[in-house]
Amino acid sequence: MAKMIDRLVLKYRILRIEKLQAKQEFLGNYRDIQVSRQNNKLLLANSRIEEAHQEKLRDFALRAGIMTKYIEQEINTLILKAETKYYWKKRALNQIMIRKAKTNKLDESQLEIIRNKKQIFLDDMLALQKQKITASFKEKAKDPEQPVALYENNSLLLDTFYEKKTQLVKDKYATKISKIETTKNHQLERIAKNIKTHKDLIAKLTKDMPKSDNGLPEDVILRLDKLTMRFGGLVAVDNLTFDVKKGEIFGLIGPNGAGKTTVFNCITKFYNPPSGCMYFRKNPVEVILLNEYPVHTIVKQGIVRTFQNVELIWELSVMDNLLVAAHSLFQTGFFGQLIHSRKLRQEEAVLRTKATGILAMLGLLPYQFGIPFGLPYGILKKIELARTLMVNPKMIILDEPAAGLNESETVELAKIIRKIRKEYNTTIFLVEHDMGLVMDVCDTICAISFGKQIAIGSPKEIQNNKIVRDAYLGEE
């Protein structure tokens, strides 16, 4: 009885730690977002102050009758405007002349006279306008006595004022940012403390308990132990046993119908294997038996998968597809969603920034707001990959990632797989037909045929293995 209670307490504490860690991540990310928002606001405020400053300087310069660069620019833009207007009028005149020539059937000489008249009129207008523009700026100079001294005096004053104002705004936003950081850091500290106490208690509880790692060595993340899967009389997977080490790229190969995808479906619990065990190292101390978990909770344990034929949500944009993938990370309840509570919006902001980061890494940013329908196959495969990265996976299962890709896309895929392994610190487990990719990318390869393991080892060993060759090419 006491043991039972201990186990329950242990489970509760582990759950609590998971929740707290999720909260920790959320708070940290949200703090960063808030700080960046404040920084953006600061930039905006600064640009506004700068604008106002320039405007005042311009006014003073005008009053002093000084042509600063700013004013010259303004005059130039006005003149340019007048010139473009002139250009269009000229074109309209041309058209009118052409039409007149068609309808009135005038002589060319007569037409030329009319044209010249109007042309001269337009030219005069342009010259007049230019004059007016420059004159209007000079007219505004109201204080001709001591203009330069006044301007200098005023501009000095304005400069000091400008500096003061920028400093003030800077201070304001600095205090805001520090306030955000202190509150959030305080909360984070509290959560860290909580996690630590929970961990200590767990350590205390597990001291007397037997180790629950099912004899899994430290560096192994997934172990299949005599896995068997039957469909009626057909044995799709037969007593399959192998280990996947932490942080490696593991390839599963075999001829068509060898049962590769069935193995994946067993691991992700789309099928319930009748016998055999699947152990998964959820975190350094805890090893779970995957057989006990239903399909939709597998992603929470840290295993995500892709599909052989791309299974995206065609009615949602690419960004929303990634948000669906992050479904298990949302913590807001249904009623929070019903009123679009503040917490939901914050969570969404955090996940959206995360998704943009991932999309930027995979070069998918141009597609983010469109629906995936009609995009090229290589892009769709990449979107599926991006989807797996949303949930901080410990292991990514790729079902034929290179199927339907051309050669250059496959080479790029190999690069991306390596990059993901490196940046996200995950294990990658893939099924593939493209031997080039498998041999290039994998650290360990397991070859199966008719559900049975025939060889396991490094790519070179597999290449030189006679049984594998026989299975692929047929016996001589």
Binding site: F307, D320, H327
Partner: protein, 356 residues
């Protein structure tokens, strides 16, 4: 002058942020509907238009819940009429006959909605598509038979009369009921929008597109199917309560298959995934003959043609615009914009000549 323009710019930005808020359109629509009631008080609007508006609002609430099922969850249900009837009779019996306070009636109706929703949801786990429609149809018919035979609760063939709706001991006038319905209608639209734009709505769409992808991303089919059915049932029962509050009469044999099919037709004709489309669809199916066709002399003389007109409209829309009336309006809008642009280009070429 510069300062003034800057000030105007800032103001227009703020105004744009208010206008672009997703709730703005709904609240504006609600205010317009309330304004029509004011016009009715002045005698500018006939009672049949008010009736058409109320019917559209009540049935829109049902259709909004139904669209979550069909447009988002991909689950077809034909038991809607039974749920609406259940709502109306709960209101009519507990509030009208037994004189329970409103809170109790609301509590009872919500419990009933959740129970019925869960039952249908559990059924839907095993069955999909057409077969689910047949099963829910059977459920709706069972409810109808129950209404007819259990006349203590529903009044049977004589129907359930409902006296004036009372709130805190005071009888509420028809105008006040209109206001209540409008407010609830706007709230229902906002709630639907929030659900669509939240993880729940996305999960429903994921479920509709691919079961296996949804499951691999941590979406529990059980939870979200049940949720979809419970939401739609809650909406339907709420609409039933509003129905009996306004009409003051509910007749058991009315809650039959044709009503469910009409709701289905409304959602499909309007556009299953757009809130504006659903309201448009409900108006074309239920409100059009009350509000528009009644005033056309041709239809006044041949009233049977009204129904035929509705049917033809449904056929035409479903055949040529599978996205619904709202898609038709959108394409029309884009076509007009394109036509304007083309006209502008032509005028430019006429006036200035072709570019070099």
């Amino acid at each position: 002058m510069r300062k003034l323009t800057n000030f105007m710019k800032q103001q227009s930005k703020q105004f744009a942020s208010v206008v672009k808020h997703p709730y703005f359109g709904f609240i504006l629509f609600g205010l317009i509907l309330l304004f029509t009631l004011y016009l009715r008080g002045m005698g500018l609007v006939t009672i049949s238009i008010i009736n058409a508006i109320v019917m559209t609002m009540i049935y829109s609430i049902i259709a909004l819940g139904f669209s979550l099922l069909l447009g988002y969850g991909g689950l077809a249900s034909l038991g809607t009429a039974g749920f609406v009837g259940l709502g109306s009779f709960i209101m009519g019996y507990f509030s009208g006959v037994l004189d329970y306070p409103l809170i109790y009636t609301l509590g009872i109706s919500f419990v009933a909605a959740i129970v019925v929703g869960l039952v249908v949801g559990f059924i839907s786990l095993r069955i999909e598509g057409m077969y689910l429609a047949i099963i829910t149809l059977g459920l709706g018919e069972i409810l109808r038979a129950f209404f007819i035979s259990y006349d203590k609760f529903t009044g049977g063939y004589s129907g359930r009369q409902f006296r004036d709706f009372t709130l805190f001991g005071n009888a509420v006038s028809t105008e006040a009921v209109y206001i209540i319905i409008t407010v609830l209608f706007v709230l229902a639209m906002i709630a639907t929008l929030n659900i669509i734009k939240s993880p729940t709505g996305r999960a429903l769409l994921a479920m509709k597109n691919s079961d296996s992808a949804a499951q691999s991303m941590g979406i529990s089919l059980l939870k979200y199917r049940l949720l979809a059915f419970v939401i739609s049932t809650v909406f339907a029962i709420l609409a039933g309560m509003l129905y009996i509050m306004y009409i003051k009469f509910s007749y058991a044999p009315d809650w039959n298959l044709s009503f469910s099919l009409n709701i289905l037709a409304a959602v499909i004709v309007g556009g299953a995934q757009s809130i504006a489309g659903i309201i448009l669809g409900v108006f074309t199916i239920f409100g059009l003959n009350l509000a528009v066709l009644n005033y056309i002399p041709f239809f006044q003389n041949n009233s049977a043609l009204m129904v035929i007109f509705n049917g033809v409209l449904i056929i035409v829309v479903v055949m040529f615009y599978p996205g619904g009336l709202i898609r038709l309006l959108q394409t029309l809008k884009y076509k007009i914009i394109f036509a304007f642009r083309k006209l502008k280009m032509k005028w430019k070429v006429y006036k200035y000549g072709k570019d070099d």
